[in-house]
Amino acid sequence: MAKGDPGAPARGRRAAPRSRKATTGDPELVQLLTPSGERIESVTGPDGTEYRVDFTDEEYRGLYRDLVLVRKLDAEATALQRQGELGLWASLLGQEAAQVGSGRALRAQDMAFPTYREHGVLYCRGIDPIMPLGLFRGVDQGGWDPNEFKFNMYTIVIGAQTLHATGYAMGVAMDGKTGTDDGEAVIAYFGDGATSQGDVNEAFVWASVFNAPLVFFCQNNQYAISEPLERQTRVPLYRRAAGFGFPGVRVDGNDVLATYAVARHALDNARQGQGPSLIEAYTYRMGAHTTSDDPTRYRIASEVEAWQAKDPIARMKVFLEREQLADADFFADVDEQARREALDLRERVLAMPNPAPVTMFDHVYPNGSPLLDEQRAQFTKYFDSFEGSAH
């Protein structure tokens, strides 16, 4: 499934530096690809870490392909909700680079804990993109095996997964799986709104004190549903890490290269036993929080337009074109692949069978329960009292 996976940076064949200027960018915001597609060779973060990427031409193209596919599949899901085929959808539009950059920085052994918006990371983990649609269609509970793909189930409760991730990461450390260059790391995804949750702050405390191999990856998309960032914090979010005793860095979340570089660095620190860190991927949710809300009620058009100019895909395309890493055929091929995969996704969603109502009792307890058996029997009788019932 992992199409165009850039994987770890190629050891042998390194691409020549492509930057026109090798300046250090704004230390407050790690950026390797500007909104206009200008490549910055390396950037020094607030703690002196130097961030850079060395991708092959094929890997650059792979990242672009990921971004386009992830966006297209997400748009198809939004359309399916509007057509009554999904109950709800949380679109990732605008956040593709933050998700693909961090998702591709993960190694096979790393474990990820998502929110309910990490469709891009899910894609990078090699999970069939149909999986979350069953959940949002209300016909199953998600469907993928978290242990097989090292990607936990979507978590709807805001911030709860950061505690799960902390516990998991503490377990990884206790199992002695950290401390080497090929150790295991854990990443927890959450949003800017979640930083106001007790759970997230508790997770910061525990991860820090137990030196858990955990990367807190905050996609700051500027709004907690309708609540703007200034109502969540008085300091930039990444600086909160200092108070808990681990490093924090802000990265341009619309820059897939910088996000990859920063995430890879933080994950490597974790796997080597150097403890947790916080990444604030500074981005913007271009669509609604979910299909149930109307963003025009709480934000102004000019703000959306300003972020449109920072689009993660557009800048990557400019870069590929300018450096002649890809031609028109490549872009057409990617678009065609996206179209085909979206259509395929649509057809498979429409073909999803409705579960028999009685299956709702199936996965409550691993070994059943007398009370539940009684309820199942009651429900079955009730259901059978209608005409046309057959199950």
Partner: protein
């Protein structure tokens, strides 16, 4: 399924029951692509575009713009294979103006009013005891009738095996050994206390003889239920029943206005002051302005002068242009001047951004724009947000003034009444003069009587003698 497919209005956001068709983006005969936006629908939550579910040709549109449509109702029919020749169905050729009806098959869902006792109260699918629907989470009880498949005719009557909960115990004697004497849940006890009902006098009809909410309500209003039939026999006098009442659902702009006004009226302590001024000179100045060549094409109205007066007065009293933020008062250096406008969709208050910086000519253009956009129903949410101070021109309705309610977040609003000829003492004699009354409501948490009065006085001074005020203040 045939090649003609009908698209039903989906639930666009968790638990909605209806939507209003704002605009059709396609018409009958159009060829459309998969996922092409076809219609804009507004629900209680958002206005959204719906993409086409199938590619093909629009065969019929079932509801006009402005119609409120229930979720699950067909709104459009699409021929998914228009190249395959004519369709044998009767819907073919129907134009958008005479709206066709959807196929009978799509309406075949049988609506069955739940029969009393069909499902035991408290069981799955049944109402909670006491007639209320218990809600733990979600969107509250459904207000619409559920569409249910019919029960099997052979299905057993209420007494049959579905019944699992034991039948209510007929007579449990109250006061038999329990410390409180009766069985009743705390909310029921509270209700009884509120209604002054002594629980020990009641016989409970709930499980194990417990007293239910209904028991208490019945005990509290014994007279109300029984003699209802008597009043209807009252003879030939006019009926005052529901047949002569109209029920209008509160939604959209109406609901928004109601929410804003209630919120503002009950959070900001309003004070209103009035000032009647002679605007004869100002009206003459307006006439002279209209005669100037560079102003020939500009719409010049008395409201323009009022706006200018307000903007100049704000400059002299910046505190009026502020908002209450709990621990702080936010005083704004910019004036986003709101103009209340009555439109077909209801009251809206778009504002002119940074109006204080505009020269009079640009202010006039901005006001004309704003009014025309509002009348065309095209005012965007951005135009309506961020207002700092508002003028409401009630004079256009022919009244003298009013006590306007502040838009939420603003601390002053000026009502501009009708300008009419009235007897007025002018230079020691009573003369017919053009006179208007201004009404200023302000938030007393921020603005005291002194400041409010000074501000209103300045607006009045400008309207009495605009030339002198301009010379004196600018």
């Amino acid at each position: 399924m045939s090649r003609i497919k009908e698209f039903n209005l989906p639930d666009l956001g968790e638990g909605l029951t209806e939507g209003e068709i704002l605009a059709w983006l396609v018409k009958v005969g159009d060829t459309i692509e998969l996922n092409q936006p076809i219609v804009e629908v507004e629900t209680a939550k958002a206005a959204v575009e719906i993409p086409a579910k199938w590619a093909g040709q629009v065969q019929a549109i079932f509801h006009p713009e402005g119609a409120t449509v229930e979720v699950g109702t067909p709104i459009i029919a699409i021929d998914t294979d228009p190249g395959a020749g004519p369709v044998e169905q009767s819907t073919t050729g129907a134009s958008a103006t005479d709206l066709p009806t959807p196929s009978a098959a799509s309406l075949a869902a049988v609506e069955v009013a739940p029969t009393e006792g069909a499902v035991e109260p408290g069981l799955i699918g049944g109402p909670a005891p006491g007639g209320r629907t218990a809600v733990l989470v979600g969107y509250g009880p459904r207000t619409t009738a559920a569409k249910r498949r019919p029960r099997k005719s052979s299905a057993p009557a209420p007494t049959a095996p579905v019944r699992v909960v034991p039948a209510p115990v007929q007579a449990t004697v109250p006061g038999n050994g329990r410390s409180n004497g009766v069985l009743a849940k705390p909310p029921v006890r509270k209700l009884a206390k509120d209604l002054g009902v002594d629980l020990s006098t009641l016989t409970g009809s709930g499980p194990s003889g417990s007293i239910t909410r209904e028991d208490v309500q019945r005990a509290a209003a014994p007279a109300a239920t029984a003699p209802a039939t008597v009043t209807t026999v009252a003879g030939s006098t006019a009926s005052f029943g529901t047949d002569r009442e109209q029920r209008i659902p509160v939604k959209g702009v109406r609901r928004l206005t109601a929410e804003n006004m209630s919120r503002s009226a009950f959070t900001a302590p309003h004070v209103t002051e009035f000032l009647t001024v002679d605007v004869t000179r100002a009206m003459k100045a307006l006439d002279r302005l209209r005669e100037r060549r560079e102003w020939r094409d500009v719409r010049v109205s008395p409201l323009l002068l009022v706006a200018k007066a307000v903007l100049l007065a704000v400059r002299r009293h910046p505190m009026v242009n502020s908002s209450w933020a709990g621990d702080e008062i936010i005083v704004k250096d910019y004036v986003n001047l709101g103009i209340a406008a009555a439109t077909e969709r209801g009251l809206i208050v778009p504002n002119i951004k940074d109006a204080g910086r505009l020269p009079l000519r640009e202010l006039a253009d901005a006001m004309t724009d704003l009014v025309q956009t509002a009348k065309a129903g095209k005012t965007s949410p951005a135009d309506m947000s961020g207002g700092t101070l508002t003028i409401t021109n009630v004079g256009v309705f022919g009244v003298d003034t009013g006590t306007p309610i502040l838009p939420p977040g603003e601390s002053a609003i000026l009502a501009f009444g009708a300008v009419r000829q009235q007897p007025w003492v002018h230079k020691g004699k009573v003369k017919p003069r053009l006179v208007t009354t201004l009404g200023l409501s302000f938030d007393h948490r921020i603005i005291d009587g002194e400041l409010g009065s000074k501000f209103l006085r300045d607006v009045g001074d400008f309207l009495t003698d605009p030339e002198a005020a301009l010379l004196a203040w600018t």
